[in-house]
Every structure is written in structure tokens, then in C-alpha cells.
């Protein structure tokens, strides 16, 4: 038996989550077609084709969110609802590898007040405004953070579309942090899943995944769930030697033909290892890509200072009473 230290900082969990009940060790219920690129019996690690260069322009999209304050409303009838004032931002990094320039191509910042209270209004706190996002149901405090994801995803789609509309480059590649989900209509886009929460492949094929060397990928397979699509595993360089270290799952829209998916898989093989982060710089290395880490830092800065916002919110609610 060998032992390995997971390369992620313990506070971020691990790069796969067996504790959640559906780790890579536990099979997913999804329908998986493993015979898309090569028959399951012929599965072996695949290298990027020789001569394939990563595109000159790679766009990476990510969003960040922060809970600025928890609020409680007091309704006329005496009931009380939980509220969450959150700031969120999405942005696109445009990595022009040809010129050697990575820049923040576009970013949007949104702030929202998430509550189920029927009477709550948008909140103006100092110079910023928290738009009301009214939730249905009882609006338990524990469900509020999840609700922030909806406008954030919308914001991410907005900026990715906007970033594409600036650049007319037909060969660029858009990398979305996290599963594609509703973003699958974007062209030449791959979803990038850092954390393996469930295992899609049958146990026999998992040995192919763990046998991947840095820069290699598995053959493309299809996942048959609602948010499914073409998918493949890829190992990034720079992780320890643990079987699942440095493994990411990449996916692309099921709406494209399989051959195009294989093309994207090859392209990702040539592109993503270049962006892998170093362990001493990023607590989630190597899966947390370098541009994404930089983007998140910039976006967090754009969210504004949390202490200033908290003070503004406190003042605003006190005046409103």
C-alpha cells in the first residue's frame, strides 16, 4: 500500500469527495455510453495528437460570490423571513498566448437581496444597490445561498457571450469553470469540473483514469443525464502520485456531433495542462487553473470591501426602520 497527501488544502475538502456519498468510488446512476470514441474494451490513455497546438486565444469564465450580510425581516403580521444580501461577480479572462497577455476581458458585478419575504424591497446601501430576488416557498435561511447561484450563472453566460462578441477569432476556446449546465449553447466551449463528486465510469474503466499520466486523457464518453453531454477525464501535471490527483473531468455540449467532441477533447489535452497551477501558490492545485485563480482574485476585489458593505447595509436598514 502506498499513501499520498492530497494536494488540495484541507479546508477546501479534497479533489474528490467520497464523504458526500457519491465519490468517484461510488457509481453514478447516470446512463453512460463508453463506446463513443473507442469501444470500452479498447480503452487506454490518449495523448494529444502530435502537432496540435493550443489555440492562441483561450477564454476562461468564472464567477465569485460573497455573502455580505444575513438579514431578518419583520413583516406587518409579525412573521419573520430570512434574507441574504450577497454580492456576486462574473468575469472572463482572455489569455492571448500568442502575444503573452492575459487580461480581464469583461466583468459584471451584481448584488442581490435574496429573501422569501413578500414585502421586501430593493435595498440601497450607500453607493450600491441590492436588487430584490424574491424566492418562493418558506425561504429557509439554509436555502438562500443556493439561490445566489441562479443570477450568478446568468451573469456568467452574459459575460461569456459578450467576450465572444468582442473577439472575432474563430479558433478560440472558452473554458467554463464548473459543469456546463445551462451554458451549453455557447460554441467551442468546454466545462471544467475540478471536483469529482460522482463516478460515471464502470469500475473496470476507472483503472484507465488512474493510469493516466499528466497531459493524457481518457476516450470520450457520453453521460445520459439531463445536464449530461460528452465528457472525458484528464490528468493535469504537478500533482502528487495519488490515483485521482490532478484528475479533472471535462465536458462539452451533447448537441454537437461526437467527432467534434473528440476534437475538443484533443484540444483540451493540449491546452489545459499549460494552465495548471503550482501547489505552493494555490491551495487547490493543480486543478484550480492559474487564470481562474487570478480571475477570482480580481473579481473578489471588484466585489468591494466586505466591511464597508456590511457597514452600509447596517446603516441602510437602520434608517429604513
Amino acid at each position: 500500500m502506498k499513501m499520498y497527501v492530497d494536494s488540495w488544502d484541507p479546508s477546501y475538502g479534497t479533489s474528490f469527495e467520497p464523504g458526500s456519498g457519491e465519490g468517484p468510488g461510488s457509481p453514478s446512476s447516470a446512463q453512460v455510453d463508453t463506446d463513443v470514441e473507442v469501444p470500452a474494451s479498447g480503452w487506454a490513455p490518449i495523448e494529444a495528437p502530435a502537432g496540435l497546438r493550443c489555440p492562441d486565444v483561450v477564454l476562461l469564465v468564472d464567477g465569485v460570490r460573497r455573502n455580505d450580510a444575513m438579514l431578518w425581516t419583520e413583516e406587518d403580521d409579525g412573521t419573520s423571513y430570512a434574507g441574504l444580501a450577497a454580492s456576486y461577480a462574473a468575469g472572463v479572462v482572455r489569455c492571448d498566448l500568442g502575444r503573452g497577455v492575459a487580461e480581464l476581458a469583461d466583468h459584471r458585478v451584481g448584488r442581490g437581496l435574496f429573501t422569501a419575504s413578500p414585502s421586501a424591497q430593493a435595498l440601497s446601501a450607500g453607493p450600491v444597490r441590492y436588487e430584490i430576488h424574491r424566492l418562493g416557498g418558506a425561504g429557509e435561511a439554509s436555502k438562500l445561498p443556493v439561490a445566489v447561484q441562479v443570477p450568478l450563472t446568468a451573469l456568467e453566460i452574459e459575460v461569456s457571450a459578450a467576450a465572444r462578441s468582442h473577439g472575432q477569432d474563430e479558433s478560440d476556446l472558452l473554458v467554463v469553470d464548473g459543469p456546463l449546465r445551462s451554458r451549453r449553447q455557447l460554441p467551442r466551449t468546454i466545462g471544467y469540473v475540478k471536483r469529482q463528486e460522482s463516478q460515471y465510469l464502470p469500475a473496470a474503466l476507472n483503472t484507465v483514469v488512474t493510469a493516466l499520466r499528466p497531459g493524457q486523457r481518457t476516450p470520450v464518453f457520453a453521460i445520459g443525464t439531463m445536464w449530461g453531454g460528452w465528457s472525458w477525464y484528464l490528468r493535469l501535471p504537478g500533482a502528487g502520485g495519488a490515483p485521482w490527483a490532478g484528475i479533472v473531468r471535462v465536458e462539452c455540449s451533447s448537441e454537437m456531433p461526437a467527432a467534434q467532441a473528440v476534437e475538443l477533447a484533443d484540444l483540451s489535452c493540449a491546452t489545459l495542462p499549460r494552465f495548471a497551477s503550482a501547489a505552493y501558490k494555490d491551495p487547490r492545485a493543480p486543478q484550480n487553473l492559474l487564470p481562474i485563480a487570478g480571475l477570482e482574485r480580481r473579481l473578489r476585489a471588484l466585489l468591494g470591501d466586505s466591511r464597508v458593505l456590511y457597514r452600509a447595509l447596517t446603516t441602510a436598514t437602520a434608517y429604513a426602520r
Binding site: 498566448l97 500568442g98 503573452g100 497577455v101 487580461e103 480581464l104 501558490k281 487570478g294 480580481r298
Partner: protein
């Protein structure tokens, strides 16, 4: 204006917008709006600029950024030191306020040029626009004296001093004072100051344009008289110069003058001489010479003996001092033999150095004295061939007589500028000597008498403190790193002190009393020759010295033949 660094009324940081830049010494201006008051204009000079990657956490992130994988922004920021607040309301500029580069009148106001009634151009700033020196602090109105420091070779101290003189004489800012002013320049090293009146053949159009920008004509000094010591061992008294052949006069003192004016103490002008016992002997011998020496055919007659040279005089004096009968009359009664011997030993050793300067064999009528009042506008005294002791003697005696002449006339006009390099040799911080006394006198009283010292030295820390502190204008060229950290350069802000270590030739930092920040000045290449190889034809007036040089009775070098003795028709 940055909000991430504290802004104070005297110093603040400004961010530099993408696509623009600020460099050190740029003049910037910003405004601060105040409630119920007129806005305050804050002007300053950039004293530091920095650039960094925002968004990078680790030093090695720069590789990822340059590779194009990590987004980051290059942000430049500049530190501004306030030079002027108008009206005088010391409030910090507000973060976010727009700071812009000042030009034209705003720049002049920021650097206080608008308050200067008479502005002497010193050169151009880093932005290529002229910078000025307030003439009030040069001519003694409110201050006087210039102290120039910098290591030799690259600091171009003498070049700056001569350019400053040129600017004073030619800019017309000092009015009649400028035109009538005189300059006395001691040439200590090489013969590079002997060609001030020769045009520079290497003068190019850029230099001419630089002079024009300062509203000066790129010409040589028009009116220069050069003195050199007589050639050693030459009985005709021809000047000892190698490269300059025309318009050079020799200077010397006759034995009669030596005795009458009591010049003997200047023979003993070493810094530590004053502490020695034998100074008593020096003064009593000088007094004895003054009382009993009788001029005789160029030489002197003493105790009935005719002395025709400095050697003769020294031998005579030593002879009388060693003689038991005459010793008390020469040296006083309470002097031990050891002290007399110490005196005699030093006196004898001075024979070699001074015999060519103190003469008994040359005609007294021949002009041989350095007198700026009767000389040209610029008087250059060449010392570079002289040994150390002789240099001290010439400097000490010349300055003493010039200063005494000024004291006698009692007016501060015409101004006399004295340029003296190696000031640390003549006025060292430690000890005292007759020359140091003269220089201190000039530093402390010269301002009211119109004697302005332009002193240059490698290390201001080794010059008598009272001379440095009396200088209104302080100039620094390239400095030695160890020297730059001394308190004498406290007027330089830290960033400027660092820059002084790598200042290029032709770049000086000038501190003047009414501008709180030293200004970085680039002065143009000299329009006059600084060596034989680049000198143009000599001015016609100097040719006279060739044809008349052999005539010991001619008034050599008197200007342009317009001597009063000439028949006016």
C-alpha cells in the same frame, strides 16, 4: 491621486493612467476643492516612480503573467513632493483627484520661477524646459556663494561653474551688474580652463539650440585674461603653459612686494602649520622684512646686502636666524633654537616651490600682479603646473589682496565671482591656515562686499562647515556612495540621493533657498573650448602677447589697445 497610500499636504502618491507616464522631476499640479473657499492648487515634483503587477501574489507569478496565463495589470504610481501650495492652505489633495503634468505658467509657478524677479538660466530640466536660479541668492541680495560637490571626472563641477558664470554674464538678468561683474577662476587641473575665450570647434547644432532655448548665445567668453606662473629656471619670466600659446601673461611677486605686503605667512599655509610653535617666528620675520627691506633694482636690499632672488632671501634670513647675534632681532627673544630650526627647515624647503613665483630679477614695471579690477572680465589663474605649496601661496595671496581691495573700495559692486576647485584642500574642516581664514572671511562677509565664492569640492563633508552653510546655492553632481549618506547632503531627498550616485556628466542637482526640492538640471555642453584639440582660432586680441611678449616694459595683455596711455588719435 491614490487612495491606498496616505496623502499628505507635503507628499502624496498618484496613479499613472494607462498610456501615459511620469518620470522623475516631472512637474505636476492638482487641485483641491474646499467648501466656502477658493480651490487650493497643489503643485509638486515627482520624486519617485514605481510600477508593479497588480493581481500577482508571488514573485514567480511574473512568468505566468508574461506567458499570458495569469491576468494582471501593470500599475504605475508616482510619489510627488509638494513644492507649492497656493493659497497657503495645507490640506492634502483628495484621493481620486486628477493630477496633471504642469507646463507653461503652471510649471513656472510650481517651481517658484514666477516669483523670481531676476532668473539666471542654469540649464534645462528633465522635461527639456529651462530651469532658473534666483539671482537674489547669487549676487548677495538675499544670499550668495555656490557650493558644488561631486566626484572628479564625471561630476563636471568646473564646467557647471563656468557655465553658471557664462549665464550670469550673458543672460542680462543681472543688468549692469552682470556685465560689470568680474570673475577670478583658479585653474587647478589640466589646462582645460585656459581656453575660455576660444570658440569650441566641436559645437554642434544641438548645443547651439540648447543655448538658444536658454536665451543665450553659444559663444566663448569674450573677455578673458589668462595668467600662468613663469617657467621654472627661465630668467625672462615667460609663462609656463604648454597648449595655450597666445594671450597668456605670467604672474609673480617681486621680492619688494613679498616683504612689503608681508606675504611670508602664506608660504607656511599648510593646514597644520598654524598649530606649530614656529608661527611666532614667521610673523616676526615677516614684520622684520616689512620694516627693513628696501627695494633695489627689482630685488631688495636688506642689512646692506642686495638680494636678487627668493633663494638669496631665504639664505639670508636663515643665516641671520642661525647667527646668535642677530637672532633676537629677527625672531624675538623668547624663541628656542629648535623652533628657529623648524622654521628654517621649512623655509629652505620652500625655495624649490616658490623661487619661480617670487622674483628679484624681473622688472617691477611689468604687469605681473593678478588684479581683477584691472584685468579682463574673466581672469584665469593657472595653477596646474605648480606644486602644492605654491598653489596654496598663490590662492592665499591672490584672494587676500582681492578681498582687501574690495574692503577698501567699500562697495559691493562690481561683483567678483571666485571659482575655486578643491576647496577641501584650501579650507579643510580641521585645523586652520591663513588661506582658510581668507576663505572664511569671504564666506561670511563676502556677500556684503560683493565677493561671491563658487567653491567646488569632491566631498563637502571635508570642507569647513561654515563655508558650506554660508552657501545659498548648493549643487551636487555625481557623488561617491559613502559621501552621499553624509549629513551635508541632507537637502537631497532619499530618491535624489540615490540618483546622484549615477548622475551622468552634465547633470546636476541644484538646491536653492526658495524652492523646497532640489532641481535636476542638465546644462549644455560648453560653447568654449575645454582643451587644445577642440579650440578654434584664438581671439585677435590675444595675438598681441606674441609680438609684445618679449618686451618687458610693454603693458602686456592690456585690453584691445585701449589703454589710457595711448594717444587717442
Amino acid at each position: 491621486m491614490l487612495g491606498t497610500a496616505d496623502a499628505t499636504p507635503l507628499q502624496f502618491w498618484t496613479a499613472v493612467a494607462p498610456g501615459s507616464y511620469l518620470q522623475l522631476d516631472d512637474v505636476v499640479v492638482t487641485k483641491r476643492e474646499l467648501p466656502d473657499r477658493e480651490p487650493v492648487t497643489i503643485a509638486g515634483v515627482v520624486t519617485q516612480v514605481r510600477a508593479r503587477h497588480e493581481g500577482a501574489q508571488f514573485d514567480s507569478d511574473v512568468f505566468a503573467i508574461a506567458d499570458g496565463t495569469l491576468p494582471a495589470q501593470v500599475q504605475e504610481a508616482a510619489e510627488v513632493t509638494t513644492t507649492r501650495v497656493d493659497p497657503e492652505l495645507y490640506v492634502p489633495p483628495a484621493p481620486g483627484a486628477v493630477v496633471s503634468r504642469a507646463s507653461g505658467e503652471a510649471r513656472a509657478a510650481a517651481l517658484h520661477f514666477d516669483r523670481m524677479e531676476r532668473r539666471v538660466p542654469m540649464g534645462t530640466g528633465r522635461d527639456g524646459v529651462p530651469v532658473f536660479l534666483n539671482a537674489d541668492f547669487l549676487d548677495g541680495t538675499r544670499g550668495a556663494h555656490v557650493s558644488i560637490s561631486g566626484i572628479s571626472g564625471v561630476a563636471t563641477k568646473t564646467s557647471f561653474a563656468t557655465f553658471l558664470l557664462f549665464s550670469v554674464f550673458r543672460s542680462g538678468q543681472l543688468g549692469a551688474d552682470g556685465a560689470n561683474a568680474r570673475a577670478l577662476i583658479f585653474n587647478v587641473k589640466g589646462e582645460d580652463l585656459l581656453f575660455l575665450d576660444h570658440p569650441n570647434t566641436k559645437l554642434d547644432e544641438r548645443t547651439v539650440a540648447a543655448y538658444k532655448q536658454l536665451e543665450l548665445d553659444a559663444t566663448a567668453f569674450p573677455d578673458v585674461r589668462v595668467y600662468a606662473p613663469p617657467r621654472a629656471g627661465d630668467s625672462s619670466g615667460a609663462p609656463d603653459v604648454a597648449s595655450r600659446l597666445t594671450g597668456v601673461d605670467s604672474f609673480y611677486w617681486t621680492l619688494a612686494e613679498f616683504c612689503e605686503k608681508r606675504l611670508l605667512p602664506y608660504v607656511f599655509a599648510d593646514a597644520d602649520d598654524e598649530r606649530q610653535q614656529y608661527t611666532m617666528v614667521v610673523h616676526s620675520v615677516a614684520a622684520h622684512l616689512a620694516r627693513y627691506a628696501v627695494p633695489a633694482e627689482g630685488g631688495i636690499s636688506l642689512d646692506g646686502v642686495r638680494l636678487g632672488s627668493y633663494e638669496d632671501l631665504v639664505d639670508h634670513v636663515v643665516d641671520r636666524l642661525t647667527d646668535d647675534e642677530t637672532r633676537t632681532t629677527w625672531a624675538g627673544s623668547a624663541v628656542s633654537m629648535g623652533t628657529v630650526n623648524a622654521f628654517a627647515r621649512r623655509l629652505i624647503s620652500s625655495k624649490r616651490d616658490l623661487s619661480r613665483l617670487i622674483r628679484g630679477d624681473l622688472a617691477q614695471r611689468r604687469p605681473h600682479q593678478i588684479k581683477t579690477a584691472e584685468s579682463a572680465q574673466v581672469t584665469v589663474v593657472d595653477l596646474h603646473n605648480l606644486p602644492d605649496r605654491a598653489q596654496r601661496f598663490v590662492v592665499g595671496v591672490t584672494l587676500k589682496s582681492e578681498f582687501e581691495d574690495k574692503e577698501k573700495t567699500g562697495t559691493s559692486r562690481p561683483l567678483l565671482f571666485v571659482v575655486l576647485d578643491e576647496l577641501n584642500k584650501y579650507a579643510p574642516r580641521e585645523g586652520s591656515s591663513p588661506i582658510k581664514e581668507v576663505l572664511l572671511d569671504i564666506a561670511e562677509r563676502g556677500r556684503s562686499l560683493g565677493v561671491i565664492l563658487i567653491g567646488a569640492q569632491q566631498t563637502a563633508s571635508e570642507v569647513e562647515r561654515r563655508i558650506v552653510t554660508n552657501s545659498a546655492v548648493r549643487v551636487v553632481g555625481r557623488l561617491d556612495p559613502a559621501e552621499a549618506s553624509r549629513p551635508e547632503y541632507g537637502f537631497l531627498p532619499p530618491a535624489m540621493r540615490q540618483r546622484a550616485l549615477l548622475a551622468r556628466p552634465g547633470t546636476m542637482f541644484v538646491n536653492q533657498p526658495d524652492i523646497p526640492v532640489p532641481l535636476c538640471v542638465e546644462f549644455p555642453f560648453p560653447a568654449w573650448a575645454t582643451r587644445k584639440s577642440e579650440s578654434g582660432p584664438p581671439p585677435s586680441g590675444t595675438m598681441r602677447s606674441i609680438v609684445q611678449g618679449a618686451d618687458p616694459f610693454a603693458v602686456v595683455g592690456s585690453r584691445g589697445g585701449s589703454s589710457d596711455d595711448d594717444i587717442p588719435f
